[in-house]
Symmetry: C2
Subunit: 630 residues, 2 copies
Amino acid sequence: MNEYIKNGNRVTISELNLPDDLKKLSVQQCWYLCGEIRNMLINTVSKTGGHLSSNLGVVELTLSIHRNFNSPEDKIVWDVGHQAYVHKILTGRADMLSTLRQEGGISGFPKPEESPHDTFISGHSSTSLSVACGIAEAMRIQGKDNYTVAVIGDGAMTGGMVYEAMNNCCYMKSNMIVILNDNNMSISKSVGALEKYLTSLRNTEKYLDAKRRVEKNLTQIPVVGNKVAKGVKQAKDAIKSTILERNLFEDMGFVYLGPVDGHNLRDLDRTMRMAKSFHIPVFVHVKTVKGKGYLPAEKNPGEYHGISKFDIRTGNPEISAGDSYSTVFGKELLNLAKKDDRICAITAAMKYGTGLQYFGKELPERFYDVGIAEQHAVTFAGGLASMGQIPVFAVYSTFLQRAYDQLIHDIAIGRLHLVLGIDRAGIVGEDGETHQGMFDVPMLTSIPNTVIYSPSCYEELRQCLKKAIYKEKGLVAVRYPRGAEDVAFHKCSVCPDYDFICTGKSDTLIISYGRILNEAYKAQSLLSADGIDCDLLKLTKIFPLDDKIIGKITKYKTIAFFEESTGNGSISEKIGSLLMESHYKGNYSRISADGFIKQSSVKSALEKFGLTCNGIADYIRRKSVENGKT
Amino acid sequence: MNEYIKNGNRVTISELNLPDDLKKLSVQQCWYLCGEIRNMLINTVSKTGGHLSSNLGVVELTLSIHRNFNSPEDKIVWDVGHQAYVHKILTGRADMLSTLRQEGGISGFPKPEESPHDTFISGHSSTSLSVACGIAEAMRIQGKDNYTVAVIGDGAMTGGMVYEAMNNCCYMKSNMIVILNDNNMSISKSVGALEKYLTSLRNTEKYLDAKRRVEKNLTQIPVVGNKVAKGVKQAKDAIKSTILERNLFEDMGFVYLGPVDGHNLRDLDRTMRMAKSFHIPVFVHVKTVKGKGYLPAEKNPGEYHGISKFDIRTGNPEISAGDSYSTVFGKELLNLAKKDDRICAITAAMKYGTGLQYFGKELPERFYDVGIAEQHAVTFAGGLASMGQIPVFAVYSTFLQRAYDQLIHDIAIGRLHLVLGIDRAGIVGEDGETHQGMFDVPMLTSIPNTVIYSPSCYEELRQCLKKAIYKEKGLVAVRYPRGAEDVAFHKCSVCPDYDFICTGKSDTLIISYGRILNEAYKAQSLLSADGIDCDLLKLTKIFPLDDKIIGKITKYKTIAFFEESTGNGSISEKIGSLLMESHYKGNYSRISADGFIKQSSVKSALEKFGLTCNGIADYIRRKSVENGKT
């Protein structure tokens, strides 16, 4: 990091009143701070895990934003939000950085309840322009003249919401500034028209030079608001009409400034000041280097995007060598696709996360990374399916929420065959509320004719995927949790749609599926050791339920359903209603994971909901006492 | 329509083998056909109702498409799909046009089950480019060299999916052609950067001239595929680099052709041939006049967008003078907003449909028509709400599906206060599967902390809207059906969250809400006349249910719930499960409207599901006989 240290008095984060003091610092002092911030980031993330590369890339940019805007009166909206660590450091949370992403600690994403400087929740991509539009309009209505600044990465620019918002910005006469943090790198290298286009802009040195000349002329005029803005605009227009082509952002109604070197604080400060002078929507194009200042991350920013703990000296992340549900899914899909050229694989910018890297490498001609564009992904799959291909869309549960309408309108109504590999279904842990996969069950079961499988181990995942592709028709989902299998029950090679694991003498039945099934199985043993027998119904095809199931379970006196999903619209609710309609006279109860679930380890969250083996065993013990009493 | 008739032999639709014979016709013969088609459209829609203006605008364009492409081998994908009537006429369905949008007749939208020429279901906006991408890719995989043609209106271009798809088109080496049917007019006049931009392109006569010159040069070369395409491209590039600016569609990787006069068949045919020669994604910009050829519709295309029957001579549509749930909602919202400047109204291109025209006229500074952009609408509302405004988003139930993720991620997690006016909730009738409002209840109830009201009459709608704005917090929806109230029960001025309408001596309870509540009330009378007493539970706040309700209803021996929603995830399912968990020992049953519901009148659909007063009465009669037996 020595390049950032030149001379001037060192200041440290702990000495400053943040973010206000940032405005008083010299550029040299800021350089020191940037070094300190980078050290904090590397030290912290090496211990807690988290998003490193993206934060190392925005150190100077974040500093410049807080030097030139007055948060929280000026509103800073971070898109996706995982690059807000520097923002958190600079708004008084440096000493809490070590608690990052941990239960009770600070969140890995902006969160208004955490700080007034965190304007809006984010975690999903491409929302910042819409949020900023709303805030800017509210300011206009309320007669405020503060600024609204949306900071968005080039990866997030592929989401359709950005375009919907851009279409609306242009007619707003507001102090809205969009900063494109262009690091030429979304989570996995994105392909697409926009990326290509940004690359062409990024390399427009002539354009930048022209802008610089405009700026230079301007430095001779005192900055007094609208008058200057008009001057700038006229100068801009004059230059544009002679030597510059209009670009896409100008076509969409923005004043475009850039590209600017995102690691040159003087240039950044100057551009921010200029952006503030227009009082109409401005688009600032900033070029940054992901991982800047930490060589291992600069060399391999993809690996350092969202990572586990790592060794600072060697830069080696603790990458788990073993398999996960994602890799098992990805490998099995590749196996099947090698033998069947109808199979196509689709991801929305999550090639590695969903285990599709194997497919992408071996069968690139049937592999599609569409960018952060879940809506398009589903309807694109519909197009493929209408021609007899078999598209498989691997997607995180939480991101599939973006495509609910497309699943209904473009897949289910026409009964097209689409297989969904729903990764990160259930509790995901440290990412918290915005990323939990709690809604796919109610979402999908509301769509007529949908089929859902929920395997409990790797082998079952493979079997379910095969069934989804070859046995079922229409919209078929296979949902599986984040991470590795933790198998307690005997591995099934046949994978029936449902299975009773019976003791032969019990009048109590536990129902479960997916990851929790293993906990239920362990609970069965724990209870048996206590002399409490209970049977277990293991669901694999969780929807629609086999007609025979209700008839088979009504013989039990007590039924308890344990489910890793939000409760409303869940399978346990459906079984509850079916039992009622079947005049079941026994005791039915259900445990689900309700509400928005904050960051913690997966284990801790499951414990809180009573969805671990001990939780399940305790619940059944209590029930048997209650039932014994009555 | 005389302008279209010049000379040449007349041919009529009925004489032709369609669509193949279209290729054999002279341009003059096509002119006659266009006249005949326009007459058919006007005559039919004057009797059946439907989309007139948009279809009158695409007569020549549709003809030219079928003259230059070979459907169904070449795939034509109609965006939104309500402009596909001409396509239906030209693909062998002219004699069925009189059955348009009626039960058992042809659909008002493309439907693959109706004809092999209907490539893909559509009804919602902005899907065609994604579908076409998928089809074009499948063709590539399958080694086919047919064309895929997406036809999209300028209104639909505001949807984010279009942009997600454009981002993906560019790297496809496929015969994909996007035709922009630019009539400068979405359903209500759209504002936004794109519309402004299209207008600027639309008026680029210089650009058109330049294109014409390229074309002229080309006519001297025989058209032999790739070689010529290369030549064209080089000529284009040369011209572009000297006199033409790149435009947005070229920035996104398309070859751009246009603008072309969409009523000049020679120009259209020439452009189609040119578009076919590139074998990479081409964007054809066609200017059309909505309502072309029928003066009342040309003068007032908005009124003739989707209309009821009308008088051909006077051109007067049978506009119902009375109120509807939509207008009552719109007027009440305006009343409230006049007294409270925190209230903002948002529509996604449905100002008239949702009754927001009153608000838009009187309070334009707090009224937002964001275009067909439901995702942006919700998150934009989130931005407004985060600043203390009270946004009210009026949206059709079916289109709200587009914003499921935004409701969760940008509203509910942060507990921001957004009021949804969910119009067209329940069965909508003639528009059929793609437009039914059957999924908002499961969708919204799956989101933690959501509140839903379902009024049964206008006065209750007003009360519910007030409660949603002033009594509730967070995400609050008021859902109401399409059309006018049909009140059977005594109008309630206080509008309690729930109410028992009791006979005092019955052990049977009917539960319902919304429009169906009135049917249940009528059924109560019908049954009473038969000597069958039953009580009625009227729900107005349908979610979350008041805790006391379950305790109050378990005293009944028989409970039947009638619900105008899909059954999975519905309120009746929730009550079923709650009753089960409360050890209710009586009989519970529920009637909902499941599956994808085809076009018909609303009445006919409700009858089919047994959700009319007679259906409800019959059901209860059967139940009482059954219960009498047991």
